[in-house]
Amino acid sequence: MLPSTQLPRSLPRFILAALLFSSQLQAVELEAYLKEHCLRCHGPEKDKGDFRIDTLSRDFASGADAELWFEVVTRIGAGEMPPEEEPQPPAEVSDQVMEKIAALIREGEKARMASRAPVDHFRLSREEYSHTIYDLLGVRYDTRAPGAFTDDPDWHGFERLGSELSLSPSHVEKYLKAATEIIDLAFPDTEPFRLKNTRDALAIDWHNGDKRKELDAIGITPRIRMLIWPGLQLSYLRPDGGYRQSAGLYRARLQVSGLAPEGGRPPHLVLYSKELDRTIFEADVLAPEKEPVILEFETFLPAGRYDISISNPVPGPSNAQRPGREGGFVFTTLDDPKSRAPWQRKMTDDEGQPLYPFLIFDWIEWEGPLERPEDLRKREGLFPDKDANPEAVRAALTRFAERAWRRPVTAGEIARYEAIVAAETAAGSPFRAAYKTALIGLLASKHFAYLAEGSPGEHRTQLTGNELASRLSYFLWSSMPDDTLRDAARDGSLTTPEGLRAQVRRMMEDPRIARFTEAFPRQWLHLKKVGMFPPDEKLYPDYDRWLETSMINEPIEFFAQVFRHDLPLPEFLDSDWTMLNPRLAAHYGIPAPKSADFEKVALLPGHRRGGLLTQAAILSLTSDGTRHRPVHRGVWLSEVILGKTPPPPPPNVPAIEPNPVTAPKATIRMKLAAHNTDANCAACHAKIDPLGLAFDHYDAIGRWRTEEVVADGTGANPPVDASGTLPDGRAFKDAEEFKQLLGSDPEVFARAFTEKLAVYALRRAMTVDDHDELDALVEQSSSSQHRLRSLIEAFIVSDLFQSR
């Protein structure tokens, strides 16, 4: 490798970044290395350990010997090979060889990912399935509910790669079950029991609920509210349809006040169902006692009887023993001394200002299952009358199939489903049941669950109008094309640049674009990993589930803001603003926004939170439950921001031991330095570690610090050193300077980002074949400072997007 100081400054920065990990410009000859250092023992003359390298397949795309090549890399990396008694190659050379082999394995993997059969099938992720069902029939189906669909496997964060989303027998069973439930919800046999109930504060006040008659008699009931102090959880907020409660979409409105202590966290409202194992609704609430807010939400609830509780899970005094209970007091107003028992924990000071975050609940009103006109319209023409003639049945089935399968269907395809209706009616089933069986069949079909691109027996590279419509709508809306898009596909306008552009702009203005601005950053940034290793409660007592949710939402809100305002991509690297809710603001020590929701907040230099890289979600997803992990941070940054995946570590690397009690306290950085004395390890770590160590001022849950807290050891906690040097020799002293260095090379990030966008949209890994197209897109977008919407639009109208 060229010494970094000699690199010409004019070299495109993304090529410079490529130097970090790419094997292509490395001077080492792989075969020569193998011949000199490996084949004597693992070649034609000797096959030590029954292992020959010369016979390993060099066709990495086939993947035949990928595992064995991986073993070669790990043995060299671990220093086991060549053995001590053999001549040792320089560490840098071994390092380059490992990278070369790793790169070949990766290229092979990508090639396999991208391998194109005459027809490619891409199974819908469960999130896409839900959205599609809603857009098709106006039915909310919760694919994440217990017993519903299994988690989708991901590839580097992306949950929609065709080659990863396989189909097992259990999937088929679940698809069939889901289809049955969905068709029943869309076309119920009997009118569902519709309810509109209000449950007031007394209904959830378990201590006084049975005194309603007496309290009514003294006329106080309308004034009764329920103070929900920190940690209090109360049941009986369910819609209360009992066993008659029908499945469907329910709307809830609840009136509540939320009071926060000066400079403290706001109260957090959580509605949770134990039986459904999910949070029904949650929000921070800030509303004065006398000016409660009405919160409104909609949620899908299955049929049956289950409870929904309300809680305020924020830190506060213990609820144990009698001071944590209300006794027989009923709450009306804070200034009424009879509202709270004198023995209870004090919630306000003598001036009435809150001492803790608490909620005051008034009522919740449930209504459902909802039948909204726009949802009913989606079902129009899909279910014929029981007296309909065969033509009408066929027409209805065809309409259903064309929408569900997102393409025109043939008479032959529909005939199978007509036959089902006929067979079922012949067997004595009523028409309704028979027809529903056919619809279930249509919905459980592979044509629904899979997006298909290509034609059997044909090696077509260009997408058809329908395929393009689906690719586009699943890219931007995570769902099926709407009528307008289907019409554009049908009349051919979609395949013209102007027509395509017009559709893209229309779709970007549609509310469904929120699905893209939520799903893409979540997958791109690996946000699924946030909270994967729950932080240790003793080390991080401030960490709670709401903080975790708020953390995850920050980059998502940030992305949506960049998208909405078509900001340049470098905003992701550094910015003078971010999106915060009060919980996160408290976590960062930044003044809280006025509302309880996420708001754009201007950042000052001392806040040190500009861009994505110093957001708590990013800093914590690479940490384990006890400490930050600089190496993982470096790997994440390399992969997600620079688009380069470092070689995997060799197996059996001993973990970094905790600081000995008798030794001076040492930072993880110091321990890493001691750990990487092996030349083979050090060579690789030298490239990865600085990328992670730059963020050493942030602990495992993303809090700023100037010294690293070390549990055991002697002396004071050591100060943080976040300085480092990039492989090109440019030095930085902390994360802010590091971000500036990254920002000075916007093409590097733009190239990586564009590739991630393409992986998400095309549902496959990018290969060397795609590099030219990606480079061209980056170059094209540089004229608009790499603005996000412009880039997305350019990408969609590019050949890359429209090709198979």
Partner: protein
């Protein structure tokens, strides 16, 4: 003095501060009252509900009340900082036997609480004309202090000299004198309406105490200066006989023993019940939730020995109490620490002069300025009280007539009234 009281009101009640000129005759539970507002009334204790510190007096026929209104019951309630002295020692209401003649200092309750307006003269001003058969002075319902005769006259430095004893020992004539020189106390100078010369009845129930012994009527002799507890004051239908003499302490030792005995009872009880105090202010530490400092004043009338036991390093438990001084449960207390104890001069009525500022790790809802506390030293052990003295879960005594209140609430005013 006045300045001090003004400061005190500001400290104890912000509500008070909002009122431009509070009526000095009104005493509130959450603030120490104006000394100028008290009215002196005396009578015989005829009903006691000691747990809630309420009861009924039969006012004296001392000429201050129209004879049409004689003997109508006077309901009273001890203020949270109200105190009792019995046998010249601190006492609680259950220490005082029914029939004891008490001197009291009374205030009006909060406005609206004293609407007793019987016709003041004329034919309908009689008992039958009093609509609810209550004393015409009933509006003076809040008691700052009660003293039996023994305590009252001892506090004034007075005693009773036996001027004559009927040969059959059925009456005794006494004259009010100063203890220091046995000089006569002029009725007009004393100004409390007590006749300086009285003829009291004796009967076989009259107890006489001499030294450490139970004495007899025979031990009475003219010229002795005694302390007497009266009963049946003025009820014998004649101005010649002023009342029944229930107890007579002949000498100083007898009086000392009586006081000591009562003092011991009081101290033992108060260690179980806790010392009452009024919270002057609470200061919360920013960001520390309910943690902060609590400043309170011990009430007047508490045995100084008990107050003196509260020292900076002692472990103290504070429990929220109602204005009746009832607490809810034995386990309600919260620990206090780092006590700073100061004494103020000329405290207002009900205030002991001892102010304590303490650190409280977690204050309760009842720990607010103007509210009442009961305080215990940890070393006194877990307080154990009879069940009826606790508010939680319910008052166990069947004293309630009619439906019980729900959640301690009265009926809501009608919508129009609220507006």
């Amino acid at each position: 003095m006045r300045t001090f009281f003004t400061t005190c009101f500001l400290l104890t009640s912000s509500l008070f501060a909002e009122e431009a000129a509070p009526d000095p005759r009104i005493a509130r539970d959450d603030a120490f009252p104006d000394p100028a507002g008290a009215k002196r009334l005396s009578g015989e204790l005829i009903l006691v509900e000691h747990v809630n510190r309420i009861g009924i007096l039969r006012p004296d026929r001392d000429g201050t009340i129209n004879n049409y209104h004689w003997d109508l019951p006077h309901e009273f309630r001890l203020l949270p900082y109200g105190s009792i002295r019995y046998r010249n020692a601190p006492a609680e209401l259950d220490d005082v036997p029914l029939g004891t003649h008490l001197h009291g200092f009374f205030y009006l309750g909060p406005e609206g609480d004293f609407e007793v307006k019987p016709p003041e003269s004329g034919y309908f001003a009689g008992r039958a004309g009093s609509p609810d058969m209550r004393s015409v002075e009933s509006k003076w319902s809040r008691v700052l202090r009660f003293e039996d005769d023994f305590s009252y006259f001892t506090r004034l430095g007075h005693g009773w000299k036996i001027a004559g004893i009927a040969p059959d020992k059925t009456t005794i004539t006494i004259e009010r004198v100063k203890l220091e020189d046995r000089s006569a106390v002029d009725e007009k100078t004393a100004g409390d309406g007590v006749k300086s010369r009285q003829v009291l009845r004796l009967d076989e129930g009259t107890s006489v105490w001499k030294g450490r012994e139970i004495a007899a009527l025979d031990d009475l002799a003219t010229g002795q200066v005694v302390q007497i507890n009266f009963t049946w004051v003025g009820l014998l239908g004649s101005t010649k006989q002023d009342g029944l003499c229930r107890e007579i302490w002949i000498d100083e030792e007898a009086r000392r023993i009586a006081s000591e005995r009562q003092g011991r009872i009081y101290r033992a009880d108060l260690k179980r019940r806790g010392l009452p105090a009024t919270i002057l202010k609470t200061e919360h530490l920013p960001g520390e939730g309910a943690r902060g400092h609590l400043t309170f004043a011990f009430h007047d009338g508490i045995d100084p020995e008990l107050i003196a036991a509260f020292q900076p390093k002692r472990g103290v438990i504070a429990a929220a109490a109602e204005p009746t001084l009832r607490v809810y449960d034995e386990n309600d207390g919260k620990p206090l620490g780092e006590l700073e104890i100061t004494r103020i001069d000329n405290p207002p009525p009900g205030h002991s002069g001892v102010v304590v500022k303490a650190h409280c790790w977690e204050m309760l809802e009842g720990f607010r300025a103007g509210r009442t506390l009961r305080l215990y030293l940890s070393e006194w052990g877990t307080p154990t009280r009879p069940r009826e003295e606790l508010l939680w879960p319910v008052d166990t005594r069947k004293f309630q007539v009619g439906p019980k209140p729900v959640a301690d609430r009265d009926a809501e005013p009608a919508e129009a009234e609220r507006k």
